[in-house]
Symmetry: D2
Subunit: 287 residues, 4 copies
């Protein structure tokens, strides 16, 4: 977690086979690298092996790309899926927003304070409302209007922006549009979303009103990777807040917002530190 | 909360009307009583007023029943629903169990340590498994076998036991049978139940397996009053535990059990202290 | 908590005497007022009575000051200390900062989003660093340099600013100077401070380093009213975050900052809603 | 965590050196073992390497002792300190108690329900009070009276009992005597203790009274390994409970007890699963 040293962080997964840990660490050792963190996990039922390794290659240099390429070749020889990240190369984030600004501020301030190690490259919105907030921070604001008729067109425009700006990850910071399966497919990179969660769950509209009528004692929020099925993607982080009969529906909404921004920022943080490995419908989070 | 003083605790609810607090406290004041705790709540939408008052009547005596009767007459004149409890009179609890014993032990130990101010009068079970555990504590164990064919008959038998033993509240401590609406109606007193809760909720069987497959980061438990609709009664208490990919399904189950016993004991505690007021589908908990 | 209705919120305390609740609510009732929330507490040992009442006076008007004056006269006749707040009149807050900006941003964003119902009137700092941040939000920034030699003079200058700007409450948002007892006395209004807390406590410098060396599993933060004795004032709110051996000292510091801003904002929120009553070395928080 | 498979769990620590992960996992691989879990940590400042590995040796057999011996020889050749545990061999626990029984019940029930994988061999107490409770569970109760004059003699007697009964770990379940440095030295095996923790800390007697007077909003508990310096040993687990002005001193004590038993059981659980590695004044907990 130290910023002072350039490292490579690899996330690996694949069918378990004897000696994987030995082979992986042996490869790094033989090339003179030094393992700083390593965490393994094995799904006992599915017999899948997961690993996160962070290491400093032998000869510090500005660009470890050659080392990464070699490692990827090596691991693909072992039939392992691998995702490498250089600590020196910050992920480029596009924040999608609509009219709520609480998550946007949290992300930008988290980036500024060093909690979120990334570049917040731009804010993309279907409403012009947050232009001033973004520009106040010096972050470019791009308005892409979305209506039922123009949604396809709007998503194409968004995809072009993401491509042009070389975006690595999209964060839906209370973006009130559903991204189509085609968009997610075409983008091909992670999209992180946040939504409220309740125990029990409430189908239909106005969930905070339903939760209030039902007298729940906890409200929750879930950050997950967006998939083609709405709110059903692999969960990265969840948390809850305690509420009581003293809280009005409005109070629940305010508390829900505070919770959402905290959970979303935490999820993005883990993602940026290459701690989250997706498999099937779930994640391994090497926290 | 002091045990050293005999008090009356009243839970009141009814349509809000001007001067309710003044009238209630005025009545106690005029009769020389001393209010120790008072907590009001007003549902702004439904315009319902709720109050919990705990007071010591003027002349300490063993039996405050006359004072309670007078207060009930007074409040019914105000069209308020009232439920009074004397600190000197402990509620008689029947614990319904099946084969899991974690909640049973928690309740009995809580009663012994003074956390739960009640008498645990008996343990009623559809299986003989827990006879020894109950008797070890000196608590009578009553086996009432339940099969699909004999359910009606079994519930009648249970109701007779509850009536004969003068039971005030039933706690379903992982009792794996559904109590019929007819049973609940005939018993006419509170029945507290505990069940696991997840975000998101999982329909169908084996919820812990589903939660594990979905990679949830939190598991929860909800204690509520049993109603005719399964697991839909007014919620008393909820809590969650953090879990991770490192936990097997079995680990989730173990953590879930620890959570269930904590949440159930807390809910019963509030109930015994007359802190829980039910209205509509929810509760006001004066904690 | 509804913004749509003008209310008066009174915090009362004094030696307990029979009939206080009845008298207080009777007074409001007789004048046609409508009690929205009321919460009492009685310190059983000290025999002190505490109450928070929120009500809407009979005839809604822009200025309830006459009603407040009458209530204050009435309660002083009962030897009760009273502090009234009009929902229509927002508290004027001065934020004291040094070089850390996390708490400042949290407060300003909380105010903007409606979580903190107040006016953030100005930012006062002993360093020029945060001028840009404050002005970005349109909040006046005032630099008052403080050195050991000029501290007395600086405090005088600060007091004049607070007086000129009619400030109701000072929030020390990681202001790294100790406010002298004379300053606190002369200001005569609440000053809220935030500091980190550990279990066990660590005397001496670099507490995060000590906590890291000791391998604590929790770090904490405490928000309190500033008093003449450093970090010893009445506690408003406390919270903790879980940490592990995986966290470096820097990680602890980052987590500590996230915790501090959450706890400070929560404490200010309760203060602004007139929920915090100080007595002796502690608080009653009617949450 | 699966009970169905016999495994070896090793906790390793030592000066970091290139290739440790590779060597360790290579050794297991070459002998046909299968790594189920592996977790590494590196203290960046102290340059110490820590590892927990759990594996199934090649040919399942009742007794893996030969494999353990070989592994220990191998790792000592690498100058690593190692501690191995066979899943088939349960730790023998002696519970030290005085007059509070909440922790004792929690431990015994935890053992019975499978949460604590150990044998609770005996209860040792300086008071006769808990004889019945222990014997109710069929656990031998041994009374060793302790007075200031007889403390040395009593500790000798306790040590003999621990030796005779082949005890692996002592749990101080609210044992109200301080074990002398000589006792700890002579026993030479882990002793786990629990104590309450507050923010801020309170020196002197009656900490709950002090905490109540100070109006703390959180109370805490810390489980740690006992060392010669009182309450200063390496921390295993800590947790807190929220309290308010509504709680009396007695309420704090009751909540503190609930917290203590939970934290102590959790700490013992991690210890029994060989997840806790002590170094210097702190622990690495591979949870």
């Amino acid at each position: 977690m130290s910023a002072s040293q350039n490292t490579i962080t690899a996330l690996l997964s694949g069918t378990d086979q004897p000696g994987l840990v030995a082979k992986m660490s042996g490869w790094i050792f033989e090339r003179g690298g030094n393992i700083i963190h390593a965490d393994q996990h094995r799904d006992m039922e599915a017999e899948i092996f997961f690993q996160r390794i962070e290491w400093t290659p032998a000869e510090p240099q500005d660009d470890f790309q050659a080392e990464v390429d070699a490692f990827q070749e090596f691991t693909s020889g072992l039939n392992m899926k691998v995702d490498c990240k250089l600590s020196s190369k910050k992920s480029r984030v596009a924040v999608f927003v609509s009219r709520y600004d609480h998550c946007l501020h949290e992300l930008i301030l988290g980036q500024r304070s060093g909690e979120l190690s990334c570049e917040i490259d731009c804010v993309i919105s279907n409403h012009p409302d947050m232009a001033e907030a973004a520009e106040q921070y010096g972050v470019p604001f791009i308005h892409v209007s979305v209506t039922p008729d123009t949604k396809n067109q709007a998503e194409k425009q968004q995809l072009e922006i993401l491509k042009d700006r070389n975006i690595d990850v999209v964060v839906m910071a209370r973006y009130m549009q559903i991204l189509s399966p085609e968009f997610l497919q075409a983008f091909g990179k992670p999209v992180i979303n946040i939504h409220h969660s309740f125990l029990p769950a409430f189908a239909g509209g106005k969930p905070y009103h339903q939760a209030h009528q039902r007298g729940v004692k906890l409200i929750g929020a879930t950050a997950h990777y967006a998939t083609a099925v709405l709110d059903d993607g692999p969960i990265i982080q969840q948390d809850v807040e305690r509420v009581s009969h003293r809280h009005t529906v409005e109070d629940l909404v305010v508390r829900g917002r505070m919770l959402e921004r905290r959970v979303l920022a935490q999820a993005l943080r883990w993602h940026l530190e290459n701690r989250v490995l997706v498999y099937g419908r779930k994640t391994v989070v090497f926290d």
